[in-house]
Symmetry: C2
Subunit: 427 residues, 2 copies
């Protein structure tokens, strides 16, 4: 119990997201720094008067259809970026001049403690999320009146991927594509864990297993070993022909096929890897993402020509956008709290209305601290995540890439007892 | 590949939900029989004229907040009960006089095939879900006009658990609490798999693990071994004091504590089990569920008195509803497609406004083919699922219950390599 007290004291001293010493602890400083960045952008914006307050609404608790089943809540991404709050039905405010962060948790009836555990008080919420002040959501009007802001800045932005709007009144700064050191640490960690999850699957896969069993193994590894409760997206575990379906795994094609030929699947990913390594060898900063997409197209067409699958002049193929037939999507996208992260098309950036290019989720020039996926593919897709650095790029994904590496991993899998999850993970 | 062809042929011949030979195959006959039961009820209802058609809308595809992230779709329960359709954005109709089932899948743009896989045609949808006819959802008005029904019966019902309404126009028959043999087989199977999942956790649990790792193990077992992709509810993995929080595990208390003392946790469940066995020994059919709740209260109060935790006359305690202090919820609820299944309060059944009893999710008299949970608890909860049979009850849950059984399982866990998932599950 001494050990427990020590841990609780540490928890109180340094508010953070924590799932045990074997996982990455995320300090509330990360979110505080995001609020600071936001305020700096707003202070520099001549349209924002002194005394402004940013007001954001967090995600609301929901039930499935008309039932009383509540899926595990996952925070709305803007709110998460600014406050790191994990629970539903919060509001949050930021004083632009001072950078002061304020949260407004919902005041739940005392009786809820029986179902949800001891309900935190305002000071506890304040300390848990490392903000300056906390008030109940029901008092939000009163509190804001007292603070008497010159302007209330709220968020209304079109999500160009979903076509949906988030809440009121656009301002820049919250569509931040440049990652801080603390954010890069989180992205490195989630890449590390999910790369290891892929290796775990490589070790376990055998013909006769079902695709969903690979999904189950992968999710179990990420949660058990890394504390990652929610996957970024639905697992795509297509084997055989299904490997060419871009978003396989959805409810209508739920990873339900028996895996017939493991070897072929990994072979395909080796070819994809060869294409990636071409792309990787390019210097990255200050390169247009459109040019990167075109380069990937060219490399892929050259490979297809080598294999005798297409014939003719590569420049001619590029002119008629033949690459889009084989890679019917953009080369990659910004990555962050959301799989398809914000900032791809800030004001002034327009989509290019040509095959393939119109699917790009950004047309921006790459800059230091941007994080993107690289997903070239000729209908067989492999995804890598990269961070742009001052002198090039950092590959966040860490999976085996050569025939030798993959064969070694699979051999290791054949020789071990099935799924030996470490019981002593702190070593 | 011969093997594969054989399987595909079998799949086409007998449409079904199937996740491999090692899991339970659910025939579309189950849903056909549900439609038949519904029609029989409606035919016997004098308010329903000849030539009526039931029209239901399935669940719609959704994105998380304003992003383009689509969580894995889970069908709306009424629609699932009637058609077994796993995909979003369907409509379905049933001709009451003939029992004919008709589905209306959404017509997706051809280009979606790149993302979702080959799009099925109408005949394939018809065969996949074992209905009589299939038309595109966009043609629903035209089709219904041609069928020219005397009345269109749609569904509008208040979910008394969530307080939300499902869609339009109430009629009974679709709030069916009596399970068919085929439905009982599914419930037995999901109980079997999740009971095994609990045993898996018992074998693996050690002080120093985190609660969420138990959640991860449990979900992995259920999916990997049983093909169960969606859990019925958020895992409640409270250790130590958290064991007394009824819905622990939600986003604000996400199973994130280190497990300090395993033994205590399972000891508590042994005491709960003792209470359950008292309840089990009662003859069940034609017993009021209210009386069962009161009996559980009495047994628990007697145990508390034995332990010296309460003093005085049990009858007096019952009169003042003291039991509700220790068991602040109902004894259990109907179980089916939803965790809190339909039919608890049909017209004419009223809630009893007394402590504890007002939390009951049904006050009905138990009848053959009802399925319920039994969850007595003195703030430490153990849940069992039962089906009422003609001569008593069938216990669906199959976990160790005695000190000896639990110790044997935990010893077995200590002696084996960690998490030995069967690689050859078809044996």
């Amino acid at each position: 119990m001494q050990n427990e007290s020590r841990k609780m004291a540490a928890y109180r001293a340094q508010p953070a997201f924590c799932r045990g010493d074997h996982t990455l602890t995320v300090s509330s400083e990360l979110f505080k720094y995001n609020r600071k960045r936001l305020c700096e952008r707003l202070q520099a914006n001549k349209d924002v008067p002194k005394g402004a307050i940013v007001l954001l609404q967090g995600g609301e608790s929901e039930t499935r259809h008309c039932s009383d089943h509540e899926p595990v809540f996952r925070q709305e991404s803007y709110f998460h970026w600014a406050f790191g709050v994990e629970e539903p039905d919060f509001y949050g405010a930021i004083e632009v001049d001072t950078g002061k962060g304020i949260i407004f948790p919902p005041k739940l009836p005392d009786s809820y403690a029986v179902w949800m555990g001891r309900l935190l008080g305002l000071e506890e919420f304040r300390d848990r999320y490392g903000v300056d002040e906390a008030f109940w959501a029901e008092d939000i009007l009163k509190v804001l009146k007292e603070k008497n802001p010159s302007t209330l800045l709220t968020l209304r932005g079109l999500n160009t991927d979903s076509g949906k709007y988030s809440r009121e009144a656009a301002f820049d700064g919250i569509s931040e594509v440049f990652k801080t050191d603390m954010e890069l640490e989180v992205l490195r960690y989630s890449n590390k864990i999910s790369s290891e999850g892929h290796i775990e699957v490589m070790k376990s896969i055998k013909p006769g297993m079902y695709e969903y069993q690979l999904e189950s193994l992968f999710k179990h590894y990420c949660y058990f070993m890394g504390g990652l409760r929610a996957g970024a997206y639905t697992c795509i575990c297509g084997s055989g022909d299904n490997g060419s379906i871009l978003h396989y795994g959805h409810a209508g094609a739920p990873n339900s096929k028996e895996v017939m030929d493991v070897y072929l699947t990994w072979e395909a990913s080796i070819i994809a890897t060869r294409l990636i390594s071409h792309v990787h060898s390019q210097p990255m900063e200050s390169v247009s993402w459109v040019d990167m997409h075109l380069l990937a197209d060219r490399v892929q067409l050259e490979a297809l020509k080598e294999l005798g699958l297409v014939k003719g002049d590569i420049d001619e193929m590029m002119k008629v956008r033949l690459g889009a037939v084989f890679m019917p999507h953009g080369l990659g996208h910004f990555l962050g709290i959301d799989t398809h992260d914000v900032g791809g098309y800030p004001q002034g950036c327009e989509r290019i209305d040509k095959p393939g290019l119109r699917s790009l989720r950004t047309v921006r020039t790459l800059e230091n601290r941007m994080v993107l996926t690289i997903e070239p593919g000729i209908y067989f897709i492999d995804v890598d995540d990269i961070a742009i650095t001052e002198d090039g790029m950092e590959l966040l994904t860490c999976v085996p890439r050569t025939v030798e590496e993959i064969e070694a991993i699979m051999e290791e899998g054949r020789r071990r007892p099935p799924m030996p999850l470490p019981q002593d993970m702190k070593k």
